[in-house]
Amino acid sequence: MSDLISPSAASVLIQASYFVAAFLFIIGLKRMSSPRTARGGILWAGAGMLVATVVTFAWPGMQNYVLMLAGIGVGGVLAWITGKRVAMTDMPQMIALYNGMGGGAAAAIAAVELYKGGEHPLALYVLAVLGGLIGAVSFSGSLIAFAKLQGLIKRSIRYGGQQVVNLVILVGTLAVGALIIFNHDAGATAVTLFFLLALALGLLMTLPIGGADMPVVISLYNALTGLAVAFEGFVLNNAAMIIAGTVVGAAGTLLTQLMARAMNRSLGNVLFSGFGETAAAGGGEVQGSMKPIEASDAAVMMAFAQKAIVVPGYGMAVAQAQHKIWELAQQLQSRGVKVKFAIHPVAGRMPGHMNVLLAEAGVPYDLIHDLEEINAEFDTADVALIIGANDVVNPAARSDRSSPIFGMPILNADKAKNVIVIKRGQGTGFSGIENALFYLDQTRMLYGDGQAVAGQLVHAVKSV
């Protein structure tokens, strides 16, 4: 195809297409950041990507077209299949995986250029090396994040002096990088060593971070991949990469901060000071006892309520109970109960986790309410049904200064006339602390796996 077009016409076409792609990416991201227009946004960005990819085949003086098509085929088909098949609850790790691949690709570009060597301006070498470093860290780090969330790595590996070791490796990587920058004859060994060190750095940085902090870490690596792509864009003199990469780098940085803030943590805390240690169990003693209830009794209670508020949490995701819960809600609605869903901003393990799950189950989003919208309404609710939520309804956040979650706004489920809590046993939530809500007079515990219990409730309500 590239033979049909004169080199200069091809290059104007390519440049113009890249311009259009960069424009569409920005428009797409803009639309994706507002709920009303979000669905269209990905289509715009996708169109940009398609245009940019297709015209790149016309780049003058290229070879290896067969390899290129094969590569796109292999990578594209695998990603397509896995992306289509993955369950909604497994989204975060898939994002980590695809993001890591992008970082790896940026590192590969850097490797190709650095192995090639040659006389280039200093700035170009600096950018190639930095982009390679960041890309490689994002690659191996994202793979670890994937493995942790997928349950392939179960423990967070920690040892004394870990941060010192990581710092030493970072310095070593930078030293080898500097060697490559200032001595263009450093040779293939140095380049290989550089990338091995960078990959090790990403690995070791990510291993100690707890699985629950992963969404923030993934978002950070996402921003880093953007930056790596931008740097390699400068190296290849490719404006689309520069702009898309930088835009993602900046947007991703902000997003990372917003996510950390929504979880009531600082980014530094996620990455370093705690290095992923989930808060140690703490907080004051709890008075009273937990009072169990049977599904049939809970069903009666709900069936005759005027208004019920459902509070889903991480346990609903684990149990995949969202479909059953929606069935239950519909049952209740058909009996005239007013049902609303209350979603805490950090319920679950990723921002918007519950929204995505409920949306998947078909819950219309006008039944779903934010913390600010619904908190005043618990007063007037006859039943609050807590399913797999714990920290986000813990009143200690309001009152107990010594609690690790003190200060986090919570859903005021304790204000409802009756509270029913579905969970498997005495397990604590993410923060590992006791929950006084479970011991209140109006609270009843409905033990069991979320999905199973919800199924029982559906049956029981039918036969009321």
Partner: protein
Amino acid sequence: MIDGFIALYIFMLAAFTGYEVIARVPVILHTPLMSGSNFVHGIVLVGAMVALGRATTPVGQVIGFIGVVLAAGNAVGGYVVTERMLEMFKASGERKP
């Protein structure tokens, strides 16, 4: 290569644009937006294609090929996942077919 200061300007402006475009995004869109921006840096595919296309040594071809595979995974996977997630954000009216 794009001249130094011009490069800086482009970098600054793109960074402002990225930052401002997603300022004030609601929490429920954090994950889809992370996924969407993950898709956008899949543009690294065009760079990987060029790197492979210009590679002449076997080493260059192998690394270039790996780069293209990874980049294609980023772009395609990022798209599919984002699209699936955003597809779910519908109001009750839209749901009934």
